[in-house]
Symmetry: C2
Subunit: 324 residues, 2 copies
């Protein structure tokens, strides 16, 4: 008995856990979500996940299991140590799920890679053979599809667009380097810069997903709202982040001859305030004919993308899975 | 009758044309070279090539033809417009060679891509599945091998490491952008910067291959010699180029999760004067575990690399040829 040919998808992030069943066509049939237990120990985190799985009410064995999880991790083994989840350090997430679902493929990749895979498989990058899928929120991550196949790199870590250097003498990055795209354009970094420039966050929409909680009340979401209202420092901050994004994307385009770049994540919802300066910098730095053809588009799959991409590791393995 | 299973290799550059016969094991059996006719018209250039082919004394039909040529070109059609060869603009180089050698595969790629392929197939990158092969001379070019396969990108232009942005407000680049690695680290750019800083070229080795002739007597080779002798401006120039190289390589490593980077071309012969600051900047910007493992090594195949890489397009097509 199987879950009607459905694939189980698991999406593990610093703010929420999600599980779902995905059909061969990429449609999410059902899903369950829960907040990530803050400060949770390893087995507390694991129980949050298994409770969600129990809640799915699966009719039988899934055709396979696809997992997206915050990095870093060993790959393809899937021992995970997500940055924002101290309880899991070298936790054998893939092996634990494989033990629970024996006899079917159980595959794992970085959550940002899964988002890119989803946009390539069923979203805004569909039909392109050479795509960078980005997510811009508390971090800046991504995944690369080249020649129609997901690029893993030597250790499963290809796609780290957030650590392309856009300003060699720039601010320190949490990776230990400096001047990385992520150091400038991630939500909390952006808000912190604005505060340094004298911005004080006015009243704005409340955070509903924790994306920008690291910077306390000085959230990037409020910054975007203030920028939309014309606050000059907020506008300057969005401009700085947008130009950094455009410059890093240009480097990726020149190196990889990309057709399309998709951008998702909370900050991408800032619209023209971010995409205007992004396009401006991108066009300044992509002057060769092959590079100037690139299109940058918003991601289209929304909050289900993580589950859909995780499922694609199993459902479209010929394009997205190369490990043994 | 065939040329004993040998593959014909053609390497077309701004300073020389080369042709050769390559065995299935990648060994160059015989070769011929001629200087690129300066200011040559299309048919003059073509005759230079066919004279070389006649001089090879091929015993029969080759098993295939592999061509490396300076870009840009349409790919895989192979209508070439090499930057430094005004006589060929949209010249159907691949089609002309296909007409001369009917019934065998005739494949073409950018010359820097062929150098990368050669180093991966038979040189310093052998055994790595994720490699960037670079050449640093009058330009800065390269080719990417990921997952064991040559990456073409959407139009055959992947590998343009020279146009990764290392200083967004930096000097103008001949691509039309600014702050590209190539604008800073290519031989003539390096020499021009040194002259601006007050360097005047002292006596040094003569150019024997034209690599740095664009900047007249202020050649990068003399600059390297002066740097070796301790001239402070020359040392600063090499440092500047080395750091730009290290920064761009770091961006490529972070994005593509590379195992190894090979560096060839005239400037790479400057040794520690260049590789010291290169390594320094590279290590500053590759702090994540997956990235810090990268090795940067000199290319190992020397002047035959272009022919060997061109031949590999035919002889190892499963790794290096994806076009129809």
């Amino acid at each position: 008995m199987t879950a009607d040919g459905l694939t189980l998808a698991v999406d593990i992030g610093g703010t929420k856990f999600a599980v779902g069943l995905v059909g061969p066509d990429g449609r999410l049939e059902t899903s369950e979500r829960a907040a990530t237990p803050s400060g949770g120990e390893a087995e507390t985190l694991w129980k949050t996940l298994t409770d969600l799985l129990d809640g799915l009410g699966m009719p039988g064995r899934p055709a396979g299991v696809g997992i997206g999880c915050g990095g870093p991790m060993t790959w393809p083994d899937g021992e995970v140590s997500p940055l924002n989840m101290a309880g899991w350090r070298g936790f054998p997430l893939r092996a634990r799920l494989a033990a629970r679902f024996p006899g079917v493929p159980v595959r794992i990749h970085n959550d940002a890679v899964c988002l890119a895979v989803a946009e390539h498989w069923r979203g805004a990058g569909r039909g392109s053979a050479n795509m960078l899928g980005m997510v811009v929120s508390t971090g800046v991550g991504g995944g690369l599809i080249l020649g129609g196949r997901l690029i893993d790199g030597g250790t499963g870590n290809a796609g780290h667009i957030g650590h392309v250097v856009v300003d060699p003498g720039g601010p320190p990055c949490r990776c230990g380097g400096c001047g990385c795209l992520e150091a400038i354009a991630r939500g909390p970094g952006l808000a912190a810069w604005a505060v340094e420039q004298g911005w004080s966050p006015g009243p704005g929409p409340e955070d509903d997903d924790g994306l920008y909680q690291e910077a306390g009340t000085a959230t990037a979401r409020r910054l975007a709202a203030d920028a939309a209202a014309g606050d000059p420092v907020a506008v300057a901050a969005m401009n700085r982040a947008g130009r950094a994004l455009g410059t890093a994307i240009a480097s990726a385009v020149n190196l990889c001859d990309l057709d399309v770049v998709t951008i998702g994540g909370g900050l991408s919802q800032a619209g023209p305030l971010l995409f205007g300066p992004l396009e401006e910098a991108l066009r300044e730095h992509t002057r060769m004919a092959f590079a100037s053809r690139v299109r940058v588009v918003p991601a289209s799959l929304g909050q289900d993308a993580g589950l859909i991409g995780a499922a694609a590791l199993v459902l479209a393995g010929e394009s997205y899975w190369s490990a043994p």
